[in-house]
Subunit: 556 residues, 2 copies
């Protein structure tokens, strides 16, 4: 903060905007960006991230917002680009920590936000949600004018925006998947982006996610046609899974089922939640009502299609329970077909692989993108690297990606007919000063991860995670030394080795010898304890080759 | 075993062979197969597997060989198909547990076996290694005749074999990557396979690894040409990594370096080991000697090429230490180029991604297969799904793959002009009876995983792993209740939450109340301990939403 404040005192020639990514820069997840102009701050999105494998036991990760809390009085409003978890997922944590500010978003986005906030007991009256249309212009504070731009993505009502400030114009694509044939017929407004380019854009911020992947992503319409052909050829029950938020994909499957005289059963909490919100707000239409599993008893196998959770191999999802035979009501059998209409997100490959193998073992027919035969041509609905041709941005900030994506996105921009004059690879917490003359990092503010685990927010730090990692690798060995009346030692272990009386006896002996020697030498008790610790550590390492977490307890 | 023995007593019409996969069936890893004809057993390979992420702290996994130990007197010999870890890696554990038997393998395979055994203190005289050429015919026992067949793969001296028994002929492809332009010019002997087909094959066993992937794998020569072009365009230092066992790839890189006037530095224990064995046995030739890192000081950056370990993101590998700035002697800098000439094995994606991102952050140029621009066209040297056209196998056993690979391999076989009459999807431990009339599973023998962790082999079971998983998710909380003179409770935790005196105090109070009540009611001590356990579990769950592993200790 010191560094940042110091910079404020410099004399500045042109009016400047500060762009301060607090999450989502140098990573994929927990997007949140602050714009600051003089004494006004505007926020874009407040998402969460899912833990990586070494972040053991963590449920989810939210961004640090110290900067926003310390400058709470300056915050004039927030806009939301779309309803994915990495853009709205930390709102229940962020909003209660900030003053009441207007939060702008499109219809489905706010519908999902309301649902999410209510799960956390935050009532509609507690927040100031304001619905916008995807061509609306709004003013935030006195300095920020925001114009929303429709961009196609794997969730409806997705927005980019043009931010006009006294320092210049920022064009932010938001997340996008360019689709020339979207399910709702609503195309990305590339014309508006082109016009903005002609009018003059100072800074372009754009999604770097798939910057390494060549080619185009299949249109949602292509995916639907593949699914229609695939399902038409299936005789038995169909179980289909994809991201619950992919409302268009699910609508298409509902329509396909209707055309092929299959009734749809939705299974899984998040599927039902998205379907309910989407229907209420008019983003999903049912040709006939969903049935419950109990209601399909009279139907033939080829008259049923289940849409279920589990596309990422989540252990408690419907598909995982089906694969492992743990579902209370439904049992898969030969003749059933399972369609995974999504690719594993990096990190989930192993879990998805486990589910797929179990499905094969049951003997059901399994269709998934990796099976690159002619069976399922549907490609991952991810984003594409094709930029909406930023024509005249002076400077470029590759956003929403790990360093490998950001840097390749920057390289890609250099191959355009009119490449940006300057590109900056930024990190979370960087304070990026932007004016007609400047585009540079002038300081940093605190930014990083807050771990959410159970009911606790932020009570788990990297030290706690390190203990978890160590215990997971080697287990734990607890030595309780009781000094009176006669010194003796008890051993308890978890995750160390199988119950082994001989080894336990040896360890107790080593520990006891260390204690007795310490007592004879009249050492302080904490030194006696340390001696026991050291003796047992050396002994265990020598005999087993392992380094369990050792807990020496001394009862005087 | 009971089931198996019972089957032995059935009357059998034709002479029959038993095929008993003890590892490598339904999985990729720890390959070991037993063939039994009457009172003779022959073994193929003895490999290891690497742990999956839920097998926490495990170093490696070896197959259970109870069946072999129980029938030790019948074992007549063993053959090794090639020198990869999943085919020879468990030899140091398996051989000492079996009687001295002849072990046949090609030159490089035995060279790597000798190196491995010597690391475990097993001397040449302790084992009976017999070198064969890749067209040799040998006899094992009185019933088994084995003819080795050269098959190209990502390691030299790779073999399939034709096993002739009184029950019929088995053709086993072994692992393979069909390469029409192999670096050593030694092609797969497809003509011999074709001839075997004409002569009559009863059973085909074939590698299922990439059965889901369409197309062909690039020839090693194609990869070499891509690398030559890539390296020719690099001005600074080059750091290249691939599997250390990919001797041909490394030879090609050495040749490229020589042609481009770069001196080669080998870094990393396994790189040096493979290079040393390969040179000694004539599988690698150096146009000039390797230099050490200390010797390249006088050279310009573009005169140096490092071949280093770390293609899988292994934390202690050279590339990881370079990426994280932990290498004692070498520091990466802008202008350096790093080439990862291999794809991550499933499960290693996250580790490799971490390394790649760190390299980008340092500012070096990074080349890897996923970067699908024109920069590195080298494809993964994995196996291809193209079978060596088994023409006349009557029955087919898809081997070396998870169920998804086995089943898709079986489907692929059905698309051949002359598909096998029967296919069987087998599991480890299945006893598969094979004769002119029969091809079926008639029983099972014990098979499964033995975990190796530190110096311990088999002293870690699934119960211990479950403790590790639980502790990694929620941490551990140890309550020591001391009853005399005045009852009091001490709390120690690891991986639970950050040091929190208030919470500790509350937990101690809850525990103490449970104890005092139990003592007042004169309960037995173990019941008092259970009461404390239950009270704390409920309290912690309510207050934190978590379920740490609880260890209640009572000191009377």
């Amino acid at each position: 903060m010191t560094q940042h404040k110091a910079d404020q005192t410099e004399a500045v020639a042109a009016p400047h905007l500060e762009v301060i990514p607090l999450g989502g820069m140098g990573e994929i997840g927990k997007n949140i960006t602050a714009y600051r102009f003089e004494d006004e701050i505007m926020i874009v999105d407040a998402g969460l991230a899912f833990p990586e494998s070494h972040q053991m036991g963590i449920d989810l990760i939210i961004p640090r917002i110290d900067y926003l809390q310390q400058n709470a009085g300056l915050i004039k409003g927030m806009i939301l680009t779309h309803g994915h978890e990495d853009h709205i997922g930390s709102l229940p944590y962020v909003l209660p920590r900030l003053p009441r500010i207007p939060v702008y978003g499109a219809g489905l986005t706010l519908g999902l936000v309301r649902e999410k906030l209510s799960e956390f007991g935050i009532k509609d009256g507690d927040v100031d949600l304001r619905e916008i249309g995807l061509t609306d212009k709004i003013r935030i504070g006195t300095h920020f004018q925001v114009e929303f731009i429709r961009m196609t993505h794997s969730i409806p009502d997705n927005a980019g925006y043009i931010l006009t400030t006294p320092a210049g114009v920022v064009l932010h694509t938001g997340d996008f998947k360019l689709d020339e044939e979207p399910s709702d017929g609503k195309l990305s407004d590339l014309a508006r982006i082109e016009q903005a380019g002609k009018d003059g854009v100072l800074l372009l911020l754009s999604d770097s996610t798939n910057a390494e992947r060549p080619g185009r992503t299949a249109s949602e319409a292509d995916v639907a046609r593949s699914l229609e052909t695939l399902i038409a050829g299936i005789k038995g029950r169909v179980f289909m899974t994809t991201f619950a938020s992919n409302v268009h994909r699910i609508q298409n499957v509902i329509n396909i089922a209707h055309r092929q005289s299959r009734r749809v059963v939705m299974e899984g909490r998040s599927m039902l939640k998205y379907a309910q919100v989407s229907q209420q707000l008019g983003y999903m239409e049912l040709p006939e009502p969903f049935l419950t599993n109990d209601e399909v008893g009279g139907l033939q196998d080829q008259q049923v299609l289940y849409v279920c959770t589990g596309s990422q191999g989540q252990p408690m999802s419907v598909l995982s329970r089906l694969a492992f035979g743990n579902h209370a009501k439904i049992a898969l059998r030969r003749g059933d077909s399972v369609i995974l209409s999504s690719n594993p997100i990096p990190g989930n490959e192993e879990a998805v692989n486990l589910v797929i193998n179990r499905l094969y073992e049951i003997g059901v027919d399994v269709y998934y993108p990796h099976l690159q035969g002619a069976r399922l041509r549907a490609r991952q609905p991810g984003r594409t690297r094709h930029d909406p041709e930023p024509r005249a941005a002076q400077v470029f900030l590759p956003w929403h990606g790990e360093p490998r994506h950001q840097i390749n996105h920057a390289r890609l921009a250099q191959t355009l007919p009119r490449p940006p004059k300057r590109t900056l690879i930024a990190k979370n917490g960087d304070v990026i000063r932007l004016s007609q003359d400047e585009f540079k990092v002038t300081g940093t503010v605190p930014a990083g991860a807050v771990y959410v685990d159970g009911l606790g927010v932020g009570d788990i730090g990297d030290d706690v995670l390190l203990d978890r990692v160590n215990m997971s690798q080697e287990g734990i060995l607890i030595m309780t030394a009781v000094l009176h009346p006669t010194p003796h030692v008890e051993i308890v272990s978890r995750g160390f080795v199988r119950a082994n009386r001989e080894l336990d006896g040896q360890i107790r002996k080593v520990a006891l010898e260390a204690i007795e020697q310490g007592l004879r030498e009249k050492k302080r008790l904490e030194d006696v304890r340390d001696d026991m610790y050291g003796a047992v550590r050396r002994f265990v390492r020598k005999v087993t080759g392992r380094n369990p977490v050792l807990i020496p307890l001394l009862v005087d």
